[in-house]
């Protein structure tokens, strides 16, 4: 019996909750989807879980800025519970809108524990100025392999992005240096061979081609691409061309499996 219990949070405008929970279940976790109102009413419910997921979507319409209002709400209403969740070494993932929530809340990059709720990076409007849905290659940061969510993953993976505000920008060059030095840059946009490049290889103009980062412990991951959209081989845009018979899962599922394995080993 798996010990992994994932809480998928949803609110007005969340729209990837069902498939994110499905991905956790396929990976062997118990997964529950809970509305933010219920969670705020019953804050201690968070204690039952060891994985927290903020899925993709348009929380509160992405009014003001993507993820901003949910970040504001969680920061004000669940501050202690979030601090405790993180300090106990539990796992957090924010995908797309969830990543936006995590950076705007200041749960990432979290260089040290004291920096909780202090935003240091942002995700802003794509260089194209609008929403883009396309598949991209991601290159794992080769140096430290710090992130528990990506431990068992090939160097290059293929996932879709679907966002308007995914351009990663650090507050300063110091912040970027620190992210690099700590090995917190989990994914960079690249081509199939691992070469970095301009649009469309880097689909949104992210600084240093950054597509995903983790905190300094490797337990909190935020990423713009959608791993839950590549858990079946039929989601691959060219499965009729290049997916080998018998390979029934997509590479994105491994990210959820890594988390489940980590929890079960702990």
């Amino acid at each position: 019996m798996s010990k992994a219990k994932a809480l998928v949070i949803r609110t007005a405008g969340t729209n990837c909750d069902v498939e994110t929970a499905h991905a956790f279940r396929l990976a062997g976790a118990f997964a529950d989807v809970m509305h933010i109102n219920s969670l705020i009413k019953n804050k201690s419910a968070m204690k039952k879980f060891n994985i927290l997921a903020i899925p993709g979507g348009f929380s509160y319409g992405d009014d003001i800025a993507s993820g901003k209002i949910l970040a504001n709400e969680m920061k004000h209403s669940l501050k202690n519970e979030l601090s405790e969740f993180v300090s106990r070494g539990k796992l957090v993932i924010g995908i797309c809108n969830g990543f936006q929530v995590l950076v705007k809340m200041g749960l990432l990059p979290l260089f040290t524990k004291d920096e909780l709720f202090a935003p240091k990076v942002t995700l802003t409007l794509n260089d194209a100025g609008h929403y883009i849905d396309r598949w991209i290659y991601l290159k794992k940061d080769p140096v430290k392999n710090l992130c528990v969510w990506t431990k068992q993953l090939p160097e290059i993976i293929y996932l879709p992005i679907a966002h308007a505000e995914g351009k990663f920008v650090p507050q300063s060059s110091e912040v970027l240096k620190k992210l690099r030095a700590n090995g917190q840059i989990v994914f960079r946009y690249s081509d199939e061979a691992g070469n970095e490049g301009a649009y469309p290889v880097n689909p949104n103009g992210s600084v240093d081609n950054i597509a995903g980062i983790c905190d300094s412990t490797g337990r909190i991951l935020g990423m713009m691409p959608h791993p839950e959209r590549h858990i079946f081989f039929t989601q691959h845009p060219r499965w009729q061309r290049c997916v080998k018979k018998g390979k029934e899962t997509g590479i994105g599922l491994q990210i959820f499996r890594n988390a489940v394995q980590f929890v079960n080993k702990a």
Partner: protein, 958 residues
């Protein structure tokens, strides 16, 4: 009370892509001096707020600390900041939906700040060398639409609208003479005919009183063309022969006669329902939102998609929306400004607005937009078409609804405002250069997040069995929703109970407002408490506004005053039937070809690929989320570089099952210019063909009809409609493909003030098919060098309405026919071959003909091919290379077969017209040998692809 103004802009050296895009648009309208634009988001906070709090809100909530900076000012009424040179500030008009405002209030509440009202606006600061009127000129042309927005000239704060003092208003009708009735219908924007007004006069004479304003408005909404489909459901004298109930005796008759057991509910509910698997049914509906999109493309298209999603939510006991499909018809986006008639927006602005409206609403609803099409013709300039479709899935037991007397009427979702008043009647009239002034309230901005919340909670309540019936508030608002639900029972409504966006609405305005994002439920009193708690738990407003009775009367009250008392029977059955006249004259189709014979058709092929109708729509497709809900199997763009045009979309709506749904569409208005009968036949076949091409089963296809026509008051236009409807019967029946739902929009004309431009008669056929195993579907891109290329189906000399004629500036020619018997047999065999795994790619041949379909297959797959035109099955009359290359004969496919499967494939296709026409090459050359043995096309597929991709990209600067 204090007011603070907060201005938020990007930090210096932090580029704003919005600004760069705007500069390109400014250049496009011929203004060259503007070098830079700063875009500033402005908020005002009014109420219980201090400077410290305002700064806190600005810094931690409204501004992004990494990328933006903010300024906070106490606000004076006549602020000098509004008079700044080269600055324009745009805000929404009072009463127009502003979701951001509500979100800011919610977020401030989370911070512990309450009792503060908010306004939002956007400020544009222009820099460069230009004359004084430039910024205003840019604003007028690009930045705002006066129907919903205005230029801010002084400090604005959230205002409270005036209260409404009730008075009963009677409309004198019984004493009016005929001209008086016509005048009343026009002045009050009832858009009722004199015959209809006379029936109303007679009815009220009988009961001995005049109607109230509420009653008259209710009748006008209910009897509008938009709601009652008077033409399609009526009798028509067609060339002297009486056609009774056009729709019932054509489109619907095919369905009835076909008796498919998997058709669960057709032409009854908000959408047609077919069986999916043992546990689920799926429903499909396509709507149009043309007139609102003409006036305000963003809002019109957004509320169009919002409306059709509510159709899904309101089908049976509610279905979960799982896919969107959108088809648009526009004028040419590169048309010179001088050619745009007064009162019409430029097609490029229309296209950008429509695409972003559908994008924002569809994406925010979390529904993948999986399929679509765009068609361009000059005649759509003043009256674009916006078709929005939605597919839903529901548990089988939730497929039907039943209202009972005693059920409470519960309104759920958005609040009611003055927006959208007279949408139903407005859409039933022609557009004119003055529409923007007289129909402003018919235009709205949607709020997808409110609708998403309704979706989430409604389906929860459905699964708990908390209501008996549901329908959406669409055209006609409560009037239609309650009127239809209570047709068999009767209903009482207390209008003051409806939650309002602001005070001051008259009872009739509440009743007919088409404010968005509202649903109406019928609820047993004992289930009310539980139901309301479900909605409340996710901040969705739900209020009892009345009850269903048993007296078959519609009674409306406002604060205990009775404002309407109508017999349901008169309301729904009183509409007088009219017999309309329709004529059709066969046009002579001249088979001669006016283009000269050429030795080489490279240029023609490249020009067709680059033409507006054929060219890649990737710029649009990539702005839509086509993968949310994780069921995507065959995406709109396929091939080696994910950019080839897929024939149909395939989705897998149940994550634990490999059963799927295939979705396609057929549209070709240019054929209708020659003969609407063959247009209808062709687009029905096209929609079916595309389903077959990806591996669908011909026995499991259902289709939807969607007619957009000019004024059917004109017997010639109506004649075309009859002709197209007759083809729907003939070919729906012949292909064994039932219609399950449909829609018509019949006054698509634009009056320029100098003359009327009718749109081309446009029939959209949308198809849906259930497929047993999505893993057996195939895509259209060629897969491997050495594979064999086959053409299935015979080519005839049918260049009428073709893209080849279009790029050569020719009209005339013979329009493609459909031989359903031959075609159906071919498709059945091909479908089996695909499911057996004998075919690795397949593309249907349609617009542009064989050469275009083949080029698309090759450049999508990244390999060229050798082709011999002489091997294509063809009619004896076909003797020219250009006919074989570009004729658009129906019933044809191109299939790629691995060499090792040759025999098995040919055996499976025995008895159909089949030609082994060539092989896939290793390199990028497309080499086509003509009928005379000489090479007639010799092209590089990457170059062809570039031509195909560059058209929209160039105009949109991407």
């Amino acid at each position: 009370m204090l007011t603070f103004r907060i201005e938020i802009g990007n930090k210096k050296n932090f580029p704003d892509p919005r600004s760069g895009n705007l500069l390109k648009d400014i250049k496009d309208i011929g203004i060259n001096g503007v070098k830079h634009v700063d875009i500033v988001d402005v908020f005002t906070l009014t109420g219980d707020v201090t400077a410290k709090k305002a700064k806190d809100v600005a810094r931690t909530l409204l501004a992004d600390s990494v990328s933006q900076e903010c300024r906070v000012y106490p606000c004076a009424l006549r602020d000098k900041r509004f008079a700044q040179k080269n600055t324009v500030e745009i805000a929404s008009n009072p009463g127009v939906m502003d979701p951001v405002r509500d979100s800011v209030i919610k977020a401030m509440n989370d911070m512990g700040i309450v009792g503060v009202s908010v306004t939002t606006s956007k400020k544009y600061i222009f820099a460069g060398r230009f004359n004084a009127g430039t910024s205003r000129n840019v604003a007028d042309k690009l930045l705002y639409n006066k129907l919903i927005q205005h230029i801010v000239t002084h400090s604005e704060t959230a205002e409270n609208a005036a209260q409404y003092d009730f008075s009963y208003t009677e409309v004198p009708v019984i004493t009016l003479d005929d001209p008086g009735l016509s005048k009343l219908s026009y002045d009050a924007r009832l858009y009722l005919s004199l015959a209809e007004m006379k029936v109303i006069r007679k009815h009220y004479k009988t009961i001995g009183r005049n109607p109230s304003d509420c009653e008259l408005e209710t009748i006008a909404q209910t009897w509008s063309e938009h709601c009652k489909h008077k033409t399609m459901l009526g009798d028509i004298l067609f060339d002297g022969k009486l056609v009774r109930k056009l729709l019932k005796n054509t489109v619907m008759k095919a369905t009835i006669e076909l008796k498919k057991p998997w058709c669960i509910s057709v032409f009854k509910d908000n959408a047609g329902i077919i069986e999916f698997d043992d546990k689920h049914n799926v429903c499909f509906k396509v709507e149009t939102h043309n007139h609102p999109s003409a006036l305000e493309p963003y809002g019109g298209a957004g509320t169009g998609i919002g409306g059709v999603i509510r159709d899904t939510l309101g089908t049976g006991l509610g279905a979960k929306p799982i896919a969107n499909t959108d088809v648009f018809c526009f004028g040419f986006p590169d048309a010179p400004n001088a050619k745009i008639p007064k009162g019409a927006l430029h097609p490029k602005r229309v296209m950008k607005g429509v695409v972003s409206g559908v994008r924002d609403y569809g994406n925010k609803m979390g529904i993948p937009t999986v399929n679509g099409a765009v068609y361009f013709d000059e005649r759509y300039t003043g009256n674009p078409l916006v078709y929005c479709g939605n597919i839903g899935i529901m548990p089988k037991a939730c497929s039907f609804k039943k209202v009972s007397s005693g059920d409470l009427i519960v309104a759920v979702g958005g609040r009611t405002g003055r927006d959208g008043i007279h949408g139903a009647t407005f859409s039933s009239s022609e557009l004119t250069h003055e529409s923007e002034t007289i129909s402003a309230t018919a235009v709205q901005i949607g709020d997808p997040i409110t609708e998403k919340k309704v979706l989430d909670t409604l389906l929860k309540a459905r699964d708990l069995g908390l209501y008996d019936a549901v329908t959406d508030c669409g055209a006609g608002g409560f009037s239609s929703a309650v009127g239809e639900m209570g047709e068999e029972t009767g209903a009482e409504v207390y209008l003051e109970k409806a939650p309002l966006k602001y005070e001051g609405l008259k009872p009739w305005e509440i009743w007919v407002s088409e404010a968005q994002e509202r649903m109406v439920l019928a609820v047993k009193p004992k289930k009310l408490k539980k139901l309301l708690s479900i909605f409340e738990s996710e901040n969705v407003e739900a209020v009892v506004i009345g009850k269903f009775t048993r007296d078959k009367k519609l009674k409306l009250f406002y604060k205990k005053h009775k404002v309407a008392d109508l017999d349901m029977e008169f309301l729904h059955g009183g509409l007088p039937g009219v017999v309309r006249k329709a004529i059709w004259k066969n046009r002579h189709e001249d088979p001669r070809i006016a283009t000269p014979v050429r030795t080489n058709y490279n240029t023609d092929l490249a020009r067709i690929l680059a033409s507006w109708n054929i060219s890649s729509k990737e710029w649009i497709i990539r702005q839509y989320d086509h993968e949310v809900q994780a069921g995507s199997v065959l995406k709109p763009l396929v091939g080696a570089e994910n950019d080839g045009p897929s024939d149909a979309a395939v989705i897998r709506p149940v994550l634990t099952s490999n059963k799927g749904i295939v979705i396609s569409n057929g549209i070709n208005p240019r054929y209708g210019d020659i003969d609407p009968y063959w247009m209808a036949a062709s687009v029905i076949e096209e929609a079916i063909r595309q389903i077959i091409a990806v591996g669908g089963d011909p026995d499991k296809i259902a289709i939807l009809d969607n007619f957009c026509w000019g004024s059917t008051e004109n017997p010639v236009e109506l004649g075309k409609l009859v002709r197209a409807s007759q083809a729907c019967y003939d070919f729906g029946k012949a292909f064994g493909t039932p219609f399950i739902s449909g829609k018509d929009s019949l006054n698509n004309e634009f009056n320029t003030g100098k003359g009327v431009v009718a749109i081309p008669s446009t029939l959209l056929i949308s198809a849906i098919a259930v497929i047993d195993d999505v893993r057996k579907t195939i895509s259209m891109d060629v897969k491997e060098p050495g594979n064999l290329i086959y053409v299935l189906g015979k080519t005839f000399q049918e260049l009428g309405g073709s893209q080849y004629n279009l790029v050569n500036g020719l009209s005339g020619g013979v329009v493609p026919r459909v031989n359903a018997k031959v075609s159906a047999q071919l498709m059945r065999k091909l479908s089996v071959a695909i499911r057996k795994g004998l075919v690795v790619s397949c593309h249907d041949i349609s617009d542009g003909g064989f050469a275009v379909s083949a080029a698309e297959m090759f450049f999508a797959g990244g390999y060229g091919a050798d082709i011999d035109l002489g091997k294509l099955p063809r009619d004896r009359s076909v003797k020219r290379d250009d006919v074989v290359l570009f004729s658009e004969s129906n019933g044809r496919f191109i299939a790629e077969v691995p060499a090792g499967k040759k025999e098995e494939f040919e055996k499976a296709l025995r008895g159909v017209h089949l030609g082994f026409v060539g092989k896939v090459r290793k390199d990028k050359k497309m080499l086509v040998k003509g009928l005379g043995g000489k090479t007639v096309v010799n092209a590089d597929i990457d170059k062809l692809k570039y031509s195909w991709q560059n058209t929209i990209r160039k105009v949109m600067h991407e």
